[in-house]
Amino acid sequence: MAERLLAYADRISAAPGERVEIKVSAPEGGEYNAKLVRLICGDDSPHGPGFKAEDIKSPIAKSYPARLQPIHAGSHIEFRKGGPQLAGSFTFIAMVWPTLPLKGAPQAIMGNFDAANRSGCSLTVDGSGRLAAQLGDSPLLHLDKPLLDRHWYLVSLAFDASAGTITLRQRVLNHRGPGNAVSEAARRLEPPVAEIARTGAGVGGPFRIAAWSAGEQTGAHYNGKIDSPAVIGRALDAEAIEKLGLDAKAARTASGVLAAWDFGRGISGIAIEDASGNGHDGRIVNLPARAMKGWNWDGSEYDWTKAPDQYAAIHFHDDDLYDCGWETDFSWDVPKDLKSGVYCVQLSQKGKTDAYEEFVPICVRPGPGQKRKALALLIPSASYWAYANHQMPSSWTFNETSMGVFETMTEADRYLEEHVGFGLSTYDLHSDGSGVCYSSSLRPVLNMRPKSHLWQFNADTHITDWLEAQKLDYDVITDDDLEREGLDLLKDYRCVLTGTHPEYYTLKMLDAVQGFTDLGGRLVYLGANGFYWRIAYHPELPGVIEHRRAEDGMRGWISEGGEYYMSFTGELGGLWRRMDRAPQIVCGAGFTAQGFDSASHYLRRPESFDPRAAFIFEGVGKDEVIGDFGIVGGGAAGWEIDRADTALGTPRHALIVAEATEFSAAYHWVKEEFNHTHSAIDGDTCPMIRCDMVFFETPKGGAVFSTSSISWAGALSHNGYDNNVSRITANVVKRFIDPKPFEL
């Protein structure tokens, strides 16, 4: 598989006058070229409208020196001053819940071992899953019994400098298997101990938790939870280890304590606090999962904000990634007079044997004080981050039976499969099988590109393509802006268009969209399965969202019981409909089914002849089949589809003006809607599998129109944009940007 030219920006949205930093990694030396384009359509598939971009003059358009920039995935904790210094005797104590003990490579729990010069000491899980002590250059000391995955253990490593011994110990909590709960092993080191062990002040690397040092980098990343790690500056016996291991507060004040970390403090942030008072505070790197159940979670409280001492565990993964941390290659200062739109920094490199190409999308929004257009396209960037670099073909065991097709991998899918370290999406499983609950934009996102699979970003360019074909003026704004500015971002627009799949919403975003329509705004929902999951943006770190797949819904993985509350904000994660905010309240329709074999068409319903809806169907015959064509499944109603339901919040006055009902057995009813398993859940048998086109008026002259289908936008360009899907969309948008109020 060929290497790729890779790049990302420090933000997806920028206003005129702001600076965007572009970070590039090139597969070959020499130079690469950059230019700026305004993206009209990213769909270069054989049946699509074709790739369309307009070159924009820019000072960034030139050659740059090419260089390879590495990615260092794997989460751990590092300490500002190098952490506790190990001199003389010491004991490491921690509660651990390993999740991949049989990884086949060492995984460091804690210590100051530096693999670059093989000095220092680490309490480790060895390549065979056994608790081990890596002490300088000396042979590994390990216990005989491999650790069981997903079991809590009290583990310790005691180094007695005066006796010249090192002792490893583990006790599995809640032991139910054969044999003893405790394993222990000791070794006497030949003098001079400190020299053999190469421990003591000034040797080893910086102290780390969940990884060890490898010179300037880190290695041996641990997979699993760690709770209440402590370093005591003397060699403890088993009785003392048990006492301090089971009582974290006692460890913090123990005689000779060097550090005792409480991961239950500051859960929302990245700081790690040394509760011993010795000042060995640190920070998490690459966002391991916080607000995780600790060894002492007793099920009495599910909300970590109310029992942080039971959520003092952090779950580390060797494939966690927050920020690639690449150096900036060049910056783009967004010109003051640049019109709002979707732009891309387009990069190219002619290598020795291959030609490389890369795009970095940047949405240019209007700046403060700039006049807004009547119409805005709200780019669902939060949903882009949720899907960023997803690896469903290899993460999911049910992808084909869900999709109804054999796995078909794009070049980008294949690249991500063959190259670990690019970070995962909230649809994926970590290498240890646990679900991914954070996803970041600060990395190359291969599925948020023109010329990529028609899903999310690239499918949304069918909308920009249509807007350009219709010669409609529009601004482009993003979810990232909506999260920052709330309703203020929307209030000056007459009409807001969604993307094809605006699935992930924070409370602030949802309140803003609801508030917009309640204040007379007009919303055109050009997609399906929108406003579905509750997420959170990090309150401090840019470009990262959190999602807990709690309780129910169409989930790529399932949050562990007791881990439903988001670490970033303390809010309950999961479906908005479980929180009395079903999508039907916002847009009249909510997720009802999905299938990916083929898309269907709509037929008008009697409500479409209501005078209130007449404007929608101008130029459409009364028996005309709507959208029996399109790029996405061959129809305008498909992939994921929504249904109106007054029980879930569709306003009583809403008109279901058209519906699609002809779906195959590959379409399945969403699981949160049936409370008991049965067989009538597919397109052949389930009447809930339908796609409802909905219109309703809102207070103060506003209105909502919902197509309720992801495939809709893929039908807009059919027959040179002269078709009834395009006509209906144009009828609605033109009426919605007309200031004349709707009568409620």
């Binding site: 270069d44 054999f406 796995e407 195959s664």
Partner: protein, 100 residues
Amino acid sequence: MYRIDPARADLAREYKARPSGPHSAELQKLLLILRWGSARGKTVILSSKSESQWRLAKFGPKRGTPMQEYGPTYKSATEASWACFRARWLETTGHDCPVE
């Protein structure tokens, strides 16, 4: 539990004629069996060059290992789907698909 009869050429012919469906109830069952579980270890389809070329392939043993392409290059998704169907038939039943 539905068992695939490897002699059922009629079902293979039905898929070949219309890979994207709709499918008869029995072909739907057969396809669910062919598609059940992780795709790692099974034949999948690779698309390349803006969906103008397709090949069959298999995943490596874990993420971070190369995929192995095999067989000819196909010029349509339909041809590739049929080739994948035949490969899965063999992988699942131990018998060659009775339809070429």
